[in-house]
C-alpha cells in the first residue's frame, strides 16, 4: 500500500498538529467573542443619558446641551452622570476624541454618530480632533470640565 494512502506519508503522529490547530482556533474564537461582548457592553447607552450635540467645523468644537445651552471650545459636565454625544460636522470629516475617557468617533457631514460616556473623576481633560482636517487641525482642541455635583 502506498504510504500516502495509508496516512503514513508524514512518518510521524499528527495529533500534536491537531492540538496546535485547536488551540489557535480556540484563541481566535476567544478574541472574537471578547471583542464582540465588550463592544456590545460599551455601546449600550443608558436610558437616562443626557444628550449633548457636538458639532465639528474648521477648526473648533461646538457643544449644545439638552437645555439649549451652547458652548464653544469648552464642555462642562457633571461627575457621575451619563452623557450621550451626538456628533456631526459642518464641513469636512473630523474626529471627536476625549483621550482620557477613551471616547473617539468620527464627525461626518450629513450624519450623526453617537457615543456615550460617564465621567468618573472631576478635572480638566483635553478634547482633540483626531482626523486631519486642514491647516489648523493640530489646534482644533477643546477642554472638558468635569465638575462635582452642585459645583
Amino acid at each position: 500500500m502506498r504510504l500516502m494512502e495509508s496516512g503514513k506519508m508524514s512518518g510521524h503522529s499528527t495529533w500534536p498538529e491537531w492540538v496546535y490547530i485547536g488551540v489557535v482556533v480556540a484563541l481566535l474564537c476567544y478574541v472574537g467573542a471578547e471583542a464582540w461582548n465588550v463592544e456590545r457592553i460599551v455601546e449600550h447607552v443608558p436610558a437616562d443619558a443626557e444628550i449633548i450635540k457636538v458639532t465639528g467645523q474648521q477648526w473648533l468644537w461646538t457643544f449644545e446641551h439638552e437645555d439649549g445651552t451652547k458652548e464653544i471650545g469648552e464642555l462642562h459636565v457633571e461627575k457621575g452622570k451619563a452623557y450621550k454625544f451626538e456628533i456631526t460636522s459642518k464641513d469636512v470629516i473630523h474626529s471627536f476624541n476625549i483621550h482620557d475617557y477613551v471616547v473617539l468617533l468620527d464627525a461626518v457631514p450629513g450624519r450623526v454618530n453617537t457615543v456615550w460616556f460617564s465621567p468618573g473623576e472631576a478635572g480638566e481633560y483635553p478634547i482633540q480632533c483626531r482626523e486631519y482636517c486642514g491647516l489648523i487641525h493640530y489646534n482644533m482642541r477643546a477642554t472638558l470640565f468635569v465638575e462635582d455635583k452642585g459645583a
Binding site: R2, L3, M4, K8, M9, G11, Y20, V23, V24, L27, Y30, V31, E34, A35, V38, I41, V42, H44, P46, A47, D48, G80, A82, D100, Y101, V102, V103, F117, S118, G120
Partner: protein, 87 residues
Amino acid sequence: MKVIFGIGLVLATLVILPSIRYVLAAGDEPGEYLDRRVEIWGLFYRLMIVAFTVGTVVSGMIVWLVLRFRESNPKAKPTEYEADGKW
C-alpha cells in the same frame, strides 16, 4: 442521547437564557454606569496577552522544528521515502 439533549434543554431554560437576558440588561440601572476606560483597556490587555501567547507558540514551534529536523541533528533519521525510495 435523549437524556443529554433533555438536560441541555433544561439547563438552557433555567440557566443560560436568563443569564443572557441578565447580561443584555446590564447598565440599565440609573446612576450605575460602566467605566469604558476599564472595559476597553481591559480588552486591549487581554487581547495583547493572546497575541503574544500565539506569537510565542508559533515562533517557538518554528525554532523547534528548524533545530529538531535539521539534517545535522544526531537524532535525524530519513523517512521511508528518503531512505528506501518507497512512495
